[in-house]
């Protein structure tokens, strides 16, 4: 039996050793399980969910933009687009080649897709072409089995039903460019567009809304198994503007082909009722994609259709600035209202002769007469006494020389010069003659139409620093709530000065001989009071004065005067202010004032309160509750 007992003992001993070793190893297995399944369970659970769940964003509809009466200015339209999911294609080019045999795909599109593919994760669909016709959609759908990774998707695209009307205020939307990327996950969506101008840009975050999410269960190759959860996003906030598109349409028509801008605003609330800048453009073209030729036409047109001249056009205000000079003199008590200045047609200051626009002269002028006749010599004289520093100060109080603060992007500040400014910018001392020139709104003084309308509004409302706006409500990122009752800071001007200046403005429009008498409103209760301005854009030489100053229509367009007119109405209880600037239009009284008159008549006709007062019931004016805010 070969020492079998010994061997059995040895075997048992060693079996215990090996069995013990196995027990230890199994203990290690259990410990590993504990580590993975208990200690690290949370981490791995998250990873398993990440594996399993793919979250896709649902684009919320962009908020609508409506005018004050609810007329739609910007809406969303269905947009059929074809998209490609790079990770589902055998090769991107293979799929695109296949697609190109069915519907046209440009080389530019291809380059863009490749570029976007590098930027985005491979399961994010990339838009190939938008705005497909029904026929194209059908063709792609029929061939879908041969086009791996191709998806047809119904998106929404922006549409501006009024086309060029109000285009400058609306702005437009277009794809997010790289340097505009923020943290908003919406920007990852294919074909997502953000506001690029106007209120579309200023209120972009509110209009965007919040993205919804769709949680999809996907397998290891990314195929969707089912939708687990769907959270609808919040649609963007609808934006109501203060604009009245009926009036806007009228204003745009009235301006016609001129390169011009009109702003009509409520002098108490700051509501901008009309803001037209001509020529305009069709923002839908931007959404479609402009052709090279269209873009060239728009960008090289000397009348700059793309610019919103109402806020970005900086013009010499010309004689409309005399309102500021007059107020500065009155408030500083440098002149008495009755003080007369004799106008012989020019004023000699040192060696330079400063001419009045009326060669023959106006004779003796007081403040009201000086305004009514727009006598340059009168204002030369009082400016000489006041000094430009104080005139500039007054102009700034009225909102000139700085952006008005309107809720639109791209506003320009205009310019109100003074000694310090000239020294800083031009590095030259201030000449006494410049006081005279700038006091009549020439020289370095520039202003935008919105500033002029605001200036007039502040004058008409009795000296309250109203600030214009185009959004009816106070819009934040999430909501829109009505603006609180206007409580503008008092500019602390004396009642007397304002009354005097307004008296002058009344004379301009309503007294025979006033520079805008021919463009007065005759309808009872609608009278307007205004101030004309013709801003010279070229220097009139001595030689020309001798041979007779050329008339505007004899000059090339670029050298003609800017025609300006500011006004408020109705005279008895002012409600609206207006500023009209016609670039190179000629004289303020013959070009700008009639436009202002016609628009102001329309504005007042649509004033529901007035209509109700006159006829007892509404007649023709739209009975929208919004209108009661007038």
């Amino acid at each position: 039996m070969y020492h079998d007992n010994d061997r059995a003992k040895l075997f048992n001993r060693r079996a215990l050793i090996l069995g013990g070793g196995k027990a230890v190893l199994m203990g290690a297995l259990a410990a590993r399980m504990y580590y993975l399944q208990v200690m690290e369970a949370d981490k791995y659970t998250v990873q398993a969910e990440d594996n399993r769940i793919s979250t896709r964003l649902l684009a919320p509809p962009r908020g609508l933009i409506l005018d004050r009466n609810g007329i739609a200015m910007a809406v969303n339209q269905h947009n059929y687009r074809v998209m490609v999911v790079p990770e589902q294609t055998p090769s991107l080019d293979y799929t695109l080649d296949g697609l190109a045999r069915i519907i046209p795909v440009g080389d530019g599109d291809r380059a863009r897709i490749h570029k976007e593919m590098r930027r985005r994760r491979s399961f994010v669909p990339i838009s190939v072409r938008e705005n497909l016709t029904w026929e194209e959609v059908a063709r792609v759908e029929v061939n879908a089995p041969d086009l791996p990774g191709i998806v047809i998707d119904v998106g929404q695209s922006r549409f501006y039903p009024l086309e060029s009307l109000g285009a400058h205020i609306l702005g437009y939307v277009s794809a997010v460019s790289e340097n505009e990327l923020t943290e908003d996950p919406l920007e990852e969506l294919p074909g997502f567009r953000i506001g690029k101008g106007g209120v579309e840009r200023i209120y972009d975050l509110a209009l965007r809304g919040k993205a919804g999410t769709s949680s999809l269960e996907v397998n290891s190759v990314g195929r969707v198994i089912k939708e687990l959860e769907r959270k609808e996003g919040e649609p963007g906030v609808d934006l109501n503007l203060t604009l009245d598109m009926k009036l806007q349409e009228y204003a745009a028509q009235r301006l016609g082909d001129e390169s011009a801008a009109v702003v009509v605003m409520d002098i108490h609330t700051g509501d901008v009722i009309v803001m037209a800048s001509t020529p305009s453009f069709d923002p839908n073209a931007f959404n479609r994609g402009l052709t090279g030729e269209e873009w060239k036409d728009l960008s090289t047109n000397p009348r700059s259709p793309l610019a919103n001249k109402a806020i970005a056009g900086q013009f010499a205000p010309g004689s409309t600035f005399k309102l500021m000079t007059a107020l500065a003199a009155l408030e500083g008590r440098d002149i008495s209202p009755d003080m007369r200045v004799f106008c012989p047609g020019s004023l000699q200051l040192g060696s330079i002769k400063f001419h009045c626009w009326k060669k023959e002269g106006h004779g003796a002028q007081d403040l009201v007469g000086g305004l009514k006749n727009s006598c340059d010599v009168y204002f030369y004289e009082i400016a000489r006494r006041v000094g430009f520093e104080r005139i500039a100060e007054m102009a700034k109080r009225f909102g000139l020389g700085a952006p008005s603060g309107i809720d639109l992007p791209g506003e320009r500040p205009g310019n109100i010069p003074n000694k310090a400014w000239k020294k800083k910018v031009l590095k030259q001392p201030w000449h006494p003659g410049e006081t005279l020139i700038n006091a009549i709104g020439q020289g370095y003084v520039t202003a935008t139409p919105i500033q002029l309308a605001t200036m007039t509004a502040r004058l008409a409302n009795g000296g309250f620093a109203v600030v214009p706006h185009v959004a009816r409500d106070l819009v934040t990122e999430k909501s829109a709530r009505p603006r609180s009752a206007p409580d503008w800071p008092d500019m602390e001007l004396s009642r007397q000065s304002i009354t005097l200046v307004r008296k002058g403005m009344f004379g301009v429009s309503n007294e025979p001989g006033g520079t805008a008498y021919k463009a007065r409103i005759v309808q009872e209760g609608m009278w307007l009071s205004g101030k004309t301005g013709s801003a010279q854009v070229r220097r009139i030489t001595m030689r020309e004065r001798e041979t007779g100053v050329k008339k505007n229509d004899q000059l090339p367009w670029k050298e003609r005067d800017h025609a300006l007119f500011v006004a408020y109405a109705p005279e008895q209880s002012p409600r609206y202010s207006i500023a009209v600037v016609v670039e190179h239009g000629g004289g303020g009284s013959v070009v700008a004032a009639p436009i202002a008159r016609d628009i102001m008549i329309e504005v007042q006709k649509r004033d529901l309160a007035r209509v109700a007062e006159a006829k007892g019931v509404d007649s023709g004016a739209p009975a929208s509750p919004d209108l009661r805010r007038f």
């Binding site: 020492h3 075997f11 060693r14 069995g19 196995k22 399944q37 369970a41 791995y44 399993r52």
Partner: protein
């Protein structure tokens, strides 16, 4: 755990047992545990097919039934028959291994199968059993003095390394390792001095740099990825990473039967074969995995108890050798899917889908059962009856 010893051991202590005696001696507890583990396998395969008997669970059940019959048949055969024919079986297995090398069908990127008409044979599986039988026979008659002589150990070493190298060349690192390790355990149980193991293991470690050269590129990669799976989470480390995610996300109580997202959504590779444990543990959690581990431990305990109760050295060595092989199967598999050892392609015994492994494992347990039935049968040095 085990039924009490029969009252009259002398009844079994004889060279010839009747079939009725043998049937009377069948260890039903062992069969119950094997069946329980296999049933877990069927259920998991059913889940892996997303609630379908096709394509895996049903076939696996049929194989189990065949395997069970095979196991009981093997158990009925006298242990001495297996001892007498151990070297012949080894020779056949060796010939098959060489045949695979010469003319094998390429499957899974490795030459592991040989098609002998009705079944695809995996000679390395046969070798696992034949090697244990042969070594057990070799050491059965050896005295301490003989075992103490190094020259005596050379033939068994050749017996181990010849097939191990052939299997490694296929290449099948997992099986080669299992052959070497289970043989090592057998040497140890036979009474080879511990210091000799120390010398061999030290020598083996010295050879690793040389052996590294012989590894195939994918094997090297697997080892390197094992060292640091995060290096390549989407490439070759994908399997380990996804397996760990599946296990970990199962948590303590699992995601529920047929609810394993990792396996259902195909993030888990090879979920019906090598990574089936992961799937099971994802759906049943740590608790389920511990139950399975417990069943395996129970099986090991049976194996050890049987081995220690055998009167013949051959029976002891065979029972222990098979038990150790079984242990290596499930240890390497579970340790590999849990990221403790490199992925070497060892199935989870009785659960992973696969015919040859199931049959050879149950064949092995048939031998253990035979050792149990014939535990009191004395075996002579040459495998005869009394001497």
């Amino acid at each position: 755990m085990l039924r009490p010893l029969p009252r009259n051991p002398l009844r079994l202590n004889r060279t010839d047992m009747s079939l009725r005696d043998k049937i009377w001696q069948i260890n039903w507890s062992l069969i119950a545990v094997l069946t329980a583990i296999s049933c877990i396998g069927f259920a998991t395969l059913y889940s892996a097919a997303q609630g379908s008997l096709e394509p895996w669970a049903l076939k696996q059940m049929i194989r189990f039934v065949i395997g069970m019959s095979l196991m009981i048949s093997v158990a009925m055969v006298d242990l001495r028959f297996w001892m007498r024919n151990a070297y012949i079986l080894y020779a056949i297995a060796m010939i098959l291994l060489v045949a695979v090398e010469v003319k094998g069908t390429v499957g899974m990127g490795a030459q592991r199968w040989i098609d002998i008409g009705f079944i695809q044979l995996q000679p390395s599986e046969i070798m696992k059993i034949a090697l244990i039988l042969s070594l057990a026979r070799y050491f059965h008659g050896a005295s301490f003095q003989e075992i103490g002589r190094p020259i005596f150990l050379i033939p068994p070493l050749i017996m181990v390394f010849a097939p191990a190298l052939l299997v490694l060349k296929q290449p099948d690192l997992g099986t080669a390792m299992m052959l070497v390790m289970s043989s090592g355990a057998l040497f140890f149980m036979a009474g080879v001095r511990i210091w000799k193991f120390v010398v061999v293991i030290a020598g083996g470690l010295g050879v690793i740099p040389v052996a590294w050269q012989f590894l195939r590129e994918y094997q090297k990669k697997r080892v390197l990825i094992f060292m640091n799976p995060e290096d390549d989470p989407l490439g070759a480390g994908y399997h380990i990473t996804q397996s760990k995610i599946a296990l970990g996300s199962g948590g303590l109580f699992g995601k529920g039967y047929m609810m394993g997202t990792q396996s259902r959504l195909n993030f888990l590779p090879e979920k019906q074969t090598d990574f089936i444990f992961t799937m099971f543990a994802e759906e049943w959690g740590m608790m389920g995995a511990l139950v399975l581990l417990g069943l395996y431990a129970l099986l090991l305990a049976f194996g050890y108890a049987i081995a220690m109760r055998c009167r013949s050295q051959f029976g002891r060595l065979v029972a222990h050798g098979i038990t150790t092989t079984f242990f290596l199967y499930f240890f390497i598999n579970t340790a590999m899917v849990m990221g403790l050892v490199p992925v070497v392609g060892v199935p989870l015994p009785l659960i992973s889908y696969g015919g040859t492994a199931m049959l050879s494992l149950l064949f092995g347990w048939g031998l253990v059962m035979s050792a149990y039935i014939h535990r009191d049968v004395p075996i002579s040095r040459r495998g005869l009856g009394d001497d």
